[in-house]
Symmetry: none
Subunit: 291 residues, 2 copies
DNA sequence: CGAAAAATGTCAATAATTTTCCAAAGCATT
DNA sequence: AATGCTTTGGAAAATTATTGACATTTTTCG
């Protein structure tokens, strides 16, 4: 039962599970551009969301409105209630929660980190790093510390899709010597090291460096000691008011690097992606057949 | 001559002298409640401003619009999200690089995702999820799909530090039945499922749900089918102009959840952290001694 | 893999909105 | 105070939007 005084956003959330595919398509278009996307005529709103008009009409009835005009009316009243125009609309991230709510506090801190991180990137270093990561002639080794191993895994998953010869050095350092043995000039090492720097990683980086391996380091704002042997290093701001550190900015920088590498590798990557998709589809078929 | 790209507000100001008395009446009503007053039907908007419909129709033509619908369209475009959020203010993230540089393009897309994700979180759902995640009486199972396994690993690393009884279900689904066997009411399942939804995960979620396990789902903007059996689900916007999806927003939401859980668990966690630190220090000593 | 069910889009009828036209009212000027 | 111009609002015409019925496609389940 939809609450009579609920906002359109809340109603969509409540009924989200019961919405059909196209209805969800429209719901998302609305949430992405709230509330403007719902204030145009039903025809326009529908075609902007790439669904048909009746779909929208049916959906607003599902949400509890008599028809599209009533739905628009509700959106308009919300817009008036928030008082001032779109400029002041979102002082808080999660508008319905107070400023002191953890969600807003966290979002504020994390975006500040992202801002600091990105405004301190040297774009030439960044481009150079992307070039290195795209060098398919050599191997690409990826390694991380305790916390950053998840980032290393994420990097591995993506670089593996983009290019060949990618190796994920697991976080247990016992296996590292075997990898070092095979390292040679022309190879690249992507290394993650954030606060609570691990001496193992430094030792690994030194040995790799001695063997002529190019090192790309992703570290925190205080910079891991590995920076001294790294060819390119990137600092990520990670401080939040908490006992642990946030890696949101790190993740975003990593993704930017992945995006840049992919752009360099294109169009080889394109072909690779398609083959990969096919392989996954086949795996799916394998799994479904016995059921 | 009215500038083609001027806002409605600006156009009104420019032509203010040439407006007639009733037109000015409407103009003021619009400026007092901008832009909502201009988004209703012409009949309503006119009667709210206590002028007649033709007056409004004539006026918007004076302002340079073909008709009332075109005028409304202009208002709507002004209202559209671009440039209004807390992050979008910054035009270039990496100031020294041009706007078209990948870093800036990526940062723009990613922050828009973050903005959309956070403005669509239901704070009550979020709080409820944090409560569940903090329930140390039951087990906390964490599982992810192919791409999201890195996120699952990250979640595991942190929740393990915060609380007891945390289990990371590896991405190979062959081992899942064993875990399901042990699941019981009071347990919680934190599940990651983003585009290219995996049927395995859905099956797992259904079985867990039947055993009375509470399910928290972190998914993408289109919502995985798991949402229908999940107790709390969170949508993350992941689209970037690329062949793959960005999980920056997902990561940030996950970190917010970790932060909230930690806040609930404190001070038990405090003690736990200290013991953990000690253990890591000891490990370091072990490793250093033989060198 | 096939049948049943659900969902989606096309089309047409209906309802609403916008616009135009015209007469009445207001206002300034002589 | 009267005339002519401008402005205003009522009502009808034209346009556009909305909704319901139906056929097609897609999905789900056995």
């Amino acid at each position: 039962m939809t609450n009579a005084s609920a906002t359109v956003r809340e109603r969509i959330r409540q009924l989200h599970a019961e919405l059909t595919r196209s209805e969800r398509k429209f719901a998302n278009a609305l949430l992405e551009n709230y509330p403007a996307a719902g204030l145009a005529s039903i025809t326009l709103a529908a075609s902007n969301a790439e669904v048909s008009t009746p779909t929208v009409a049916r959906m607003v009835q599902k949400l509890g409105y008599r028809g599209y005009p009533q739905f628009q009316q509700a959106l308009l009243e919300e817009l008036q209630a928030t008082g001032s125009g779109p400029t002041q609309r979102r002082a808080n991230w999660v508008a319905e929660a107070p400023e002191a709510h953890l969600l807003n506090r966290f979002a504020k801190a994390a975006t500040q980190n992202i801002e600091r991180t990105f405004s301190n990137i040297d774009s030439r270093q960044f481009d150079a790093a992307a070039q290195l990561l795209a060098q398919q002639a050599g191997m690409l080794y990826i390694v991380g510390g305790r916390i950053s191993s998840a980032l290393a895994l994420y990097a591995f998953t993506h670089f593996q899709a983009i290019r060949s010869h990618v190796v994920h050095m697991t976080s247990s350092s016992a296996t590292w010597p075997h990898y070092v043995l095979d390292m040679a000039e022309g190879d690249t090492l992507l290394l993650f090291d954030v606060r609570r720097y691990e001496t193992n990683l430094l030792r690994l980086a030194k040995q790799a460096s001695e063997r002529g391996v190019r090192i790309i380091l992703i570290t925190d704002q205080w910079a891991s000691p590995v920076a001294s042997v790294a060819d390119h290093s990137f600092q990520c701001w990670i401080e939040i008011p908490s006992a642990w550190d946030s890696n949101s900015a790190t993740m975003m920088l990593l993704e930017a690097l992945i995006a840049a590498t992919q752009e360099v590798c294109w169009p080889e990557t394109k072909d690779r992606y398609e083959r990969l998709e096919n392989l996954f589809d086949m795996t799916r078929l394998f799994k479904q057949s016995p059921s």
